[in-house]
Amino acid sequence: MRSKELKRQARFIAVGGVAMALLVTGCAENTGDNGEGAQEHEQNTLDIIGTAEDSVGPATPVEGAVEGGEITFIQNSDMAHLDPARNYVSTSMMVGQGLLYRTLTGYREDGDGSRKVVGDLATDPGTDVNGDCTVWEYTLKDGLKYEDGTDITADHVAYGISRAMATEENDEGERVPMYPEGAQFLLDWLDPANEYVGPYEGEETAPGIAVDGNKITFTFDSPRCETPFAVAMPTTAPIPPDKDTKGEFDQMPFSSGPYKIEERVFEERTVLVRNEHWDANTDPIRHAYVDSFVFEYGTQPEDITTRLAANASGDENLATFTPVDSSQLSNIVGNKAEYEGRYLEGPRKYTSYLNINMNRVTDLAVRQAINHAFNRDRWVQVNGGEYSVLPNTTLMGPTVPGYVDYDVYPYDVEKAKELLGGETIQLRYAHADTATEGRIAAAMVDEFAKAGIEIEAVPIDPLDWYGQIADPDNSFDLYWSSWGEDWPSGSTVFPPLYHSRSIPVENNYPFINVPELDQKIEDLESSSAGFEETAAQWGELGKEIMEKYAPVIPTDIAYGVWISGSNVGGHYLSENISTLDVTKLFVREP
C-alpha cells in the first residue's frame, strides 16, 4: 500500500547519475508531507517549462528560515569535480550549482513539490527563435556579478561553454578532450563532428554560438527542443577568460553564485562563505540563509549516521548528503518521532534494472519468462525493504514527465513455466562481490528456481563491475545496473540505455541492437513536435520496448532516509538533483 502511494507521488527529475558508489542523494522534510513523513511530489507533470515571470528573483522564502550561522556537512569523500566543465555527479552538482555558480537556466523548486525550468542567468528558459527548435536565444539579466564584483557577461557564458569543448594533443598526436568528465549534450549539439579544438588553440567561441551584447544565441543543425534543460547543466556557468586557471579551476572555481570558496584542501576540508556581490533579487532559485558552509571529509557512511543520530553537544549544526546507512535504517525509521524536525525521507530518481544479455538470451519468450519469474516483492525485501527501494515495473521512472505506468510481465510463475515450455534453463547471474549483493543473489537463486530457471551466481570484483558488464562479449545473462535521467525527459533515458550506439563500453547493458528501435529513438530525439508531445511518446516507447523485446527486468526505484543535527532547518529534497537541497537550509538558532 505504502509503496504504491509513494510511487504515485514520486515525480521528480534527475541529473548526472554515476556508478554505484556515487549514488549519494538527498531527501525531503515534512514540509507539505503526506502524513507519513515523505515529501509530496507532483506527478511527473508536463507543466515544467517556466516563464519569464517565474525567472524573476528572489526565490520563494523557506518557512521559518532565519539568517546566520554555520552548517557543517560531514561526508565520506570530497566532491568529485567542481569545475563546471567536469561536474557531473549529484552531490558535486548540488554544491557547484546550488552554491558556487549559476547557469543560463536552472530549476526553481518552491518547496511544495513543484519544479520548473526557469531562467537563472537568463531572463527566461529560452526563446525558440524560428519555432522549429534550431535557434535558441537567451538574454542575460541585469545586475549579475562575480565574487569580485565584476559583471557577468554573455561573452563569459560563451567562453565557459567553449572552454568545456577544449581538446589537447596526446602523445600519439590525437586530440583528446581536456575536460572529459562533464555533460556532453550541448557540446555535441553545437559541434557534432567534434572539429572545434577549444578556445586555447582555436577560435575563442565554439561554432553555433553567437553573442550580441547581453544576448547569446545557439544555432543547431537539427531541432533541439530540450535546449532549456540542456543549458541548465553546469557547462553554461560563466567563466571570465582571465580567471580560467585550467586544471586548477576544478579546485577553486570563480564564483558567480551566493557563496565563494574561502578555504579548500582536497579530501580534507572546504569552507564556503558568502559572496557579498550576489544579488538575491536576480536569483529565483537560491537562498543564502547561512553565513558559511563547511564540508569535512573522511567519515564512513555508517559512522555519519551514528554521529548524526546521537546529535551530541556541538554536533547540532551537522548535515550530510549521505542517506542513513542500511545497517541503522530500521532503527531510525522505527523511531521517527525521536528525530522529529531532523528526519527526512523520499523517493529518489534512480531506476534499477536487471539487464538480460540479449547476445546470450536471444529468445524473446525466454526473456519474457524471466520477467514473469521475477519476484519483485522478494527483491525489495532483500534490498533493504521499502525504505531503501520501491518496486518499479517501467523503463522510464515515475520521476519523468510523460511517465506511463505499466506492468507488462506481472509476477506469475505458472506463466513463466508455460513460456519456457516446461523446460529448465540455466542462467549466469553476475553480482558485485559484496555481502549484500551475495545475499540478494542467493534470494534470486531461490526465486527463479520456482519457475525452472537455474541461476548460477557469479561474484565480480566491485571495482571492475562496469568494466565487466559493459563488455558485449561478457559471459553473464543477468546483471544489475541503475540510471537517473539527466533532465526530466525520456531523451536522457532511452538513447543512452537502449540505442545500439550506446553498446560498446557505454550504458546499453542488455546490448539491445534493433535498427527499428534506433530509428524511433532518433526520430524522437530530433523531433520538433515540442516537449509535451514527445514526453508522452517517450513514455509509450518504454512500454513498447518491454512488450516487443523485454531487454531488462525493471526492478525498483531508490528510496532514501536522511537525518541531520537538530539545529538545521529547511530540509528539502531537490527534485532536480535528487539530493538534499543545500540552498534551502538554515540554522534554527544561529
Binding site: 557531473y88 578532450p177 582536497f266 571492475d464 545496473s481 563500453v505
Partner: protein, 326 residues
C-alpha cells in the same frame, strides 16, 4: 659499527626498491580501470580514453614506474602544467593534489596517534608486566593477566566504536576526535586524541604486559638475581637495575616494531574516528585505485619498518653489552 650501519642502509634501499616494484606490479595486475572509475558510469569510451591519457595511464607500465621513481628524486612536470617538485610522489587522479602534500598532512595525524598511544601502552604494559612478575600469584598479578587477556581478545573495530558511543555520544564527556596541531594548542591536541589513544593502547598494552611478565619471571629465576639478593641489594635495585634491564631486550624489539607499525598507519583506528591519517588514506587509495597514493603509503610504511628495525638492532648493543654488531 659504521660498516654495519652502511650495510644495513644499502639493504634498506634494496628492500624499498623491491617493495615498490611489487606494489606497482600488483596494482596493474588488478583488472579494474582507474580511468573508468574516475570518469563514472556515464562516460563514453572516448571520454574514458581521454581520462586515461590525462592520468598518464596509457603509457607502458615500466615507463610509468621509471617516471614515478624519477619524480621522487628530481620532481616531475605534468601535461596540465603542474610542476611537482622533488620528492614528488605523484598527483591524485581525482582532485590533482600532490601526493607529497597529502602525506605531509596525514603524517602528523598518524604520528600523533602512534606516539601517544605507544607511550601509554608501553608505560602501562611494561609497568603492569613488571609488577605482576614481582608480585607473582598475588591479586595484582591475576588482575594483570586477566586484563591483558581481555585486551588481547578485544577487537579494535568493536572497542573503538564502543568508546565513541559511550564517551562522546552518550555521556558527552569528550568532543569528537579530531586532529589539532600541537603547535597550535597542546590542550586541544590532547583532548582530540584521547579516544584514539585509549582505543589503541588499551588493546595494545596486553601484549607488552604478557611479554614483560614472562621475561621478568624467567630473569628472576636466574643465578645473578639470587646473587644480587645474597649481596644484600635493595629490592628496587634488584628488580629495576638487574631484572628489568636483562628482560628488556626482546621487549625493545617488539616495542620498536609496534611503533613502526603504528606510524605506518593505524588503519582501523583512523577509520573508526574519521581521522585522515596515512592508514585511512592508504585504504581509501586502494578503493579509489589511486596508484600514486598507494605507492606513497606503502613505501612510507616500509620505510618506518626498515628504519625501526635498524634502530632496534642498534639499541640492542646499548641495552645488552653481550650483543656485538657485525
Amino acid at each position: 659499527m659504521l660498516r654495519f650501519i652502511i650495510r644495513r642502509l644499502l639493504l634498506a634501499v634494496l628492500t624499498l626498491t623491491m617493495v615498490s616494484i611489487i606494489t606497482f606490479g600488483l596494482f596493474f595486475a588488478v583488472p579494474a580501470d582507474p580511468a573508468r572509475l574516475q570518469c563514472g558510469q556515464r562516460c563514453t569510451a572516448e571520454q574514458v580514453d581521454a581520462v586515461r591519457a590525462n592520468l598518464g595511464l596509457d603509457e607502458p607500465v615500466h615507463e610509468q614506474y621509471v617516471d614515478f621513481v624519477k619524480g621522487i628524486f628530481v620532481g616531475r612536470s605534468y601535461d596540465n602544467g603542474t610542476e611537482c617538485g622533488a620528492p614528488c610522489l605523484g598527483l591524485l587522479n581525482v582532485g590533482g593534489r600532490e601526493v607529497t602534500e597529502v602525506v605531509a598532512d596525514a603524517l602528523p595525524i598518524t604520528a600523533s596517534i602512534a606516539v601517544g598511544a605507544w607511550l601509554i601502552q608501553m608505560t602501562l604494559g611494561i609497568g603492569l608486566g613488571a609488577i605482576a612478575a614481582i608480585k607473582r600469584g598475588r591479586f595484582i598479578d591475576k588482575f594483570a593477566v586477566g586484563a591483558s587477556l581481555v585486551g588481547a581478545a578485544t577487537p579494535l573495530f568493536f572497542f573503538g566504536p564502543m568508546l565513541l558511543l559511550i564517551f562522546r555520544y552518550e555521556l558527552e564527556w569528550l568532543p569528537q576526535p579530531a586532529y589539532v596541531s600541537p603547535l597550535q594548542s597542546i590542550g586541544d591536541w590532547m583532548v582530540g586524541m584521547i579516544l584514539p589513544w585509549l582505543a589503541v593502547s588499551l588493546i595494545g598494552f596486553a601484549f607488552e604486559t604478557r611479554m614483560t611478565r614472562s621475561q621478568m619471571l624467567e630473569t628472576l629465576d636466574e643465578d645473578f638475581i639470587r646473587t644480587s639478593w645474597a649481596k644484600g641489594l635493595r629490592g628496587r635495585t634488584v628488580f629495576g637495575r638487574h631484572a628489568l634491564r636483562a628482560s628488556i631486550t626482546p621487549i625493545a624489539t617488539s616495542a620498536g616494531l609496534s611503533l613502526a607499525g603504528l606510524l605506518g598507519g593505524a588503519v582501523v583506528t583512523e577509520t573508526i574516528f574519521g581521522l585522515n591519517g596515512l592508514g585511512k588514506r592508504a585504504v581509501d587509495a586502494v578503493r579509489a585505485l589511486e596508484l600514486s597514493m598507494v605507492m606513497a603509503t606503502v613505501l612510507i610504511a616500509a620505510l618506518f619498518i626498515v628504519v625501526s628495525t635498524l634502530l632496534v638492532d642498534l639499541l640492542y648493543a646499548v641495552i645488552d653489552p653481550r650483543v656485538r654488531l657485525s
